[in-house]
């Protein structure tokens, strides 16, 4: 018996050791890459010119594409990469997707820079616009200005190229699609309350006062069964669009100081405050902690919601009520929409920079966006012909012409969010104190002043 126990223990230990060795062996045997580049952050001319020239390269050069792997987006991006790979066959280039199952952009970014530090970074990838100033400042992406001369800009909505990936006259990324803000509303709730639908005309949008008035009439019930009239996130990136519609500035003044304490911005914060605390027609943080505002809208508990077009695929799935699309509320008639443009980039440290550019060109081609657009992933396409040919399919056939018009016209009223390398940090600091205001511990004016202090301090610290 004792011998058996010894044998069993020895067997278990041996099995454990061998299985661990087997895990390591797989990687060693399958890893055909050359020694890791120890200077992953610095781009050298040797790396630039180091495209495959050996006789071994009859097989395609494989480029890694780092993709944030949200389950509902994988089919869309995969379709786009497949279309790009078809275009790249003649050039013997193949894009392989490296799925990064992060829950948010900071986790994705952590993974990407960790791999770059070890010289195992992806060749190309997609980065959120808010991270672009940071990656540019840290020289983690390749400058694309010269490469972009290759592109026929007339085929694209070229204004989208001038996003946070465009700094000091240089391009560091190309748009992967355009997201912007619109107002979705529950048509059935409006019909039941006998209210006219919000305007779909971006030059004559629903006013702040009208929103407040409608929200009061559409708010009903109490507790878990309460339905709210309106929701919009009072985040830094969105306050700018409301403030500009009142004649104010978009987050920052011309001299770079924070404009969120201006009379126009304070008016916007007061508007939110009145609906949150006076009228109680907007859900508070305690309401949206368990169930997000968009989940509340899709389940018929919010009548109007200002949200990004990234939610459009969830909106298209709504079957329980009719949804309308309207212009974002405005202070003085003309509405503006904060625009978010994520970027395809070439990461520094790639051994195949020129081939990586060819890959990017194929990805953002008409064929690439024709494959992506119908899936509803990635925002609106930046290729003009794709937008024109597929707009009905992208927006959804259940929407009326006025809704489709409101959706498309939003693109002509966009406002770039003034991202800089401190934006992420400052935004997190502001969000950390926002609950004090939303829970009623400070007034909206006090919150606005606090925000100005945080932003200006954050800028000075850098």
């Amino acid at each position: 018996m004792q011998t058996f126990k010894k044998f069993l223990l020895g067997f278990l230990l041996t099995a454990m050791i061998f299985s661990m060795m087997a895990c390591g062996q797989n990687k060693a045997v399958n890893d055909n890459s050359s020694a890791n580049n120890e200077k992953a952050a610095a781009q050298t001319d040797e790396a630039k010119n180091k495209d495959n020239t050996t006789s071994e390269d009859t097989k395609p050069v494989e480029l890694k594409f780092a993709m944030i792997a949200f389950a509902n987006e994988i089919p869309g991006w995969t379709a786009m990469i497949d279309a790009a790979n078809k275009k790249l066959e003649d050039q013997k280039i193949k894009i392989s997707i490296q799925k990064i199952p992060a829950q948010n952009w900071p986790e994705y970014y952590q993974k990407v820079i960790t791999q770059m530090a070890a010289g195992e970074g992806a060749d190309i990838g997609r980065i959120a616009e808010s991270f672009m100033p940071q990656v540019i400042q840290k020289s983690q992406v390749v400058e694309l200005t010269e490469y972009l001369k290759d592109i026929n800009m007339a085929e694209y909505f070229d204004a989208t190229f001038k996003n946070a990936g465009y700094q000091d006259g240089k391009y560091y990324g190309v748009p992967s699609g355009v997201y912007y803000m619109v107002m979705y509303y529950n048509k059935d709730m409006f019909d039941a309350a006998n209210l006219p639908y919000p305007s779909s005309d971006w030059n004559n949008a629903i006013s702040f006062e009208q929103v407040r008035e409608y929200a009061k009439k559409l708010t009903k019930g109490e507790g878990a069964n309460k339905t709210f009239g309106f929701y919009a996130g009072p985040y830094m990136a969105y306050i700018g669009m409301y403030s500009v519609s009142l004649g104010g500035k978009n987050v920052f003044n011309d001299d770079g100081t924070c404009a969120l304490g201006s009379p126009e911005s304070k008016q916007v914060y007061k508007w939110f405050d009145d609906m949150l605390r006076v009228d109680k027609t907007m859900p508070r943080p305690t309401d949206t902690k368990v169930m997000s505002a968009m989940d509340m809208f899709t389940s018929g508990r919010i009548a109007m919601i200002v949200d990004g077009t990234w939610s459009h695929s969830a909106i298209k799935d709504i079957k329980n009520f009719r949804v309308g699309v309207a212009a974002v509320p405005a202070g003085n008639g003309k509405a503006y929409s904060s625009m978010f443009v994520d970027n395809f980039v070439i990461f520094k440290g790639t051994k195949h920079e020129e081939k990586a550019w060819e890959a990017i060109k194929a990805v953002i081609s008409k064929e690439g966006f024709d494959a992506l657009a119908p899936t509803g992933v990635g925002g609106l396409p930046i290729v003009r012909s794709t937008m024109e040919n597929l707009k009905d399919e992208m927006i959804g056939t259940q929407f009326e012409e006025s809704d489709k018009r409101a959706f498309i016209d939003g693109l002509d009223n966009t406002l770039a969010v003034p991202y800089n390398e401190n934006y992420q940090e400052i935004d997190q600091m502001i969000n950390a104190v926002m609950d004090e205001w939303l829970m009623g511990k400070v007034t909206s004016d006090e919150f606005a002043d606090k925000v100005v202090g945080l932003v200006n301090e954050g800028m000075k610290a850098k």
Binding site: S19, P101, Q103, K111, T114, A224, D295, M296, G308
Partner: protein, 277 residues
């Protein structure tokens, strides 16, 4: 000594315990029920507690969208090996620190404990670079070997328990001709069963749910563990609640099985460790 309780006291105790039991079980029940609802039914008010129709498409979609079986196997392999390895190495180290006198024993133990103060996130990038140089990235080794070889919490937990083993047992065993390995295997380890089960349970659950390490060190989808696959069902814009609940329900099955089989030892271990600590 028998303790006679009145029927009323018994009833009150049962009511309180029932309330606690319902509160504990309710989240799991809600998760299972949500996994069987259509997207429209998930947020219906009033909430549907007892669905009359079971929407199994969520489970089908989960397995079609993600390689859940592969993730299940990967998680099982990593977690079982880490648990067994941790128990072995931690118990050996605890025995050495408790029953063997060697130079700088206390200093070394202090260094071990001090590693508990270093957040894991701080060492991620240096560890990734190190493992990259030895070809371990995109394998399961980085999420197994460091945890097996140094689990300061496990060593501390077992060490505290081993202090209760009388030295006279050790002396007797030495007189009988056993060396330290024999004493460890025949006396110390069997006596530590409760704490081993407790540590094993904590280690199993902790590693089963480990997300950050696999996220950083693994790149190939076929090597992903379950937490990585489950996280794909939520993104920054929306959450596919039905799919997320279905994936989560699948992932907790081993934990439930583990708890059912080891509940007695787990409770015993916590109680004994608490008394002797």
């Amino acid at each position: 000594m028998t303790f006679n309780r009145s029927k009323l006291q018994n009833a009150l105790i049962h009511i309180v315990l029932s309330f606690v039991a319902i509160t504990t079980v309710m989240p799991f029940y809600w998760m299972a029920v949500t996994s069987l609802k259509t997207p429209e039914d998930i947020f219906k008010m009033p909430p549907i507690l007892f669905p009359t129709y079971f929407y199994t498409q969520n489970y089908i979609d989960v397995f079609e969208l993600m390689p859940m079986w592969q993730g299940f196997l990967n998680s099982t392999k990593v977690t079982v090996l880490v648990t067994i390895g941790t128990l072995l190495t931690s118990s050996m180290a605890a025995y050495a620190f408790t029953k063997i006198n060697f130079i700088w024993k206390d200093t070394l133990f202090g260094i071990f404990l001090s590693t508990l103060m270093v957040p894991g996130q701080v060492t991620l990038i240096p560890l990734y670079i190190l493992f990259s140089k030895i070809g371990w990235t995109d394998t399961h080794l980085p999420i197994m070997v460091p945890i097996i070889l140094l689990n300061a919490y496990g060593i501390f937990m077992i060490k505290q328990f081993m202090h209760s083993i009388p030295d006279s047992y050790i002396e007797s065993a030495k007189i009988d001709g056993y060396n330290h390995l024999g004493i460890y295997l025949k006396i110390a380890l069997p006596m530590c069963k409760p704490v081993l089960v407790a540590l094993g349970t904590f280690t199993f659950i902790g590693n089963w749910n480990n997300f950050l390490g696999p996220l950083i060190f693994l790149s190939t989808e076929s090597k992903f563990t379950l937490p990585l696959l489950i996280s794909s069902f939520r993104d920054i814009y929306s959450v596919k609640w039905g799919l997320l609940m279905a994936a989560s329900s699948v992932s907790i099955i081993p934990i439930i099985i583990l708890y059912i089989f080891f509940q007695r030892f787990f409770v015993e271990g916590i109680a004994l460790t608490g008394l002797k600590g």
